[in-house]
Subunit: 96 residues, 2 copies
């Protein structure tokens, strides 16, 4: 199944930016980054449990918010994209 | 149907922050904000077309990225939430 991981953390602190990089690293083992804090991951139930455990080891539950949504497939018929499709540098500010 | 609007814009510029506020205002006419740049909206096909038109009038297509995903319902069985559920101030930095 396809899940969307969305992650809310302040990137105004070095610690927040570090956690976002770590979240991205975890998610990239399961899928792809599509926005600064949004990742599409193809998983089965067992992989989703692993993904969640990996993410929970990284995030700060007192400060961050993490949501994992089940998407409707096929994705191509169930997503609409607008604007700039690929940010070039997810680690830095998106717009300089 | 339930759709998830995710929006990528730099909030490091005043113009970006202004666009994020405008996107939030549009989305709040259709649903609720769940993260700084993530909104859950309940729409039918006609409302989704209106939502998209409203959003396109606000975003900067050269600089921002906007994605609208169809979620799998019922939401209660198809979303997992972790960490801090509600940020108190979506207009400011999430973590001070």
């Amino acid at each position: 199944m396809l899940v969307l991981v969305t992650y809310d953390v302040s990137t105004e602190t070095a610690a927040g930016r570090r956690r976002l990089r770590q979240v991205a690293k975890v998610c990239q083992n399961y899928g792809q980054r599509v926005q600064k804090s949004v990742f599409e991951c193809q998983v089965d139930a067992a992989m989703q449990a692993l993904l969640e455990a990996d993410l929970l080891s990284v995030i700060n539950e007192q400060e961050d918010n993490l949501r994992i949504y089940r998407l409707t497939e096929p994705l191509s018929r169930n997503v609409r994209e607008f604007g700039k499709f690929k940010a070039t540098d997810f680690e830095g500010p998106l717009i300089l």
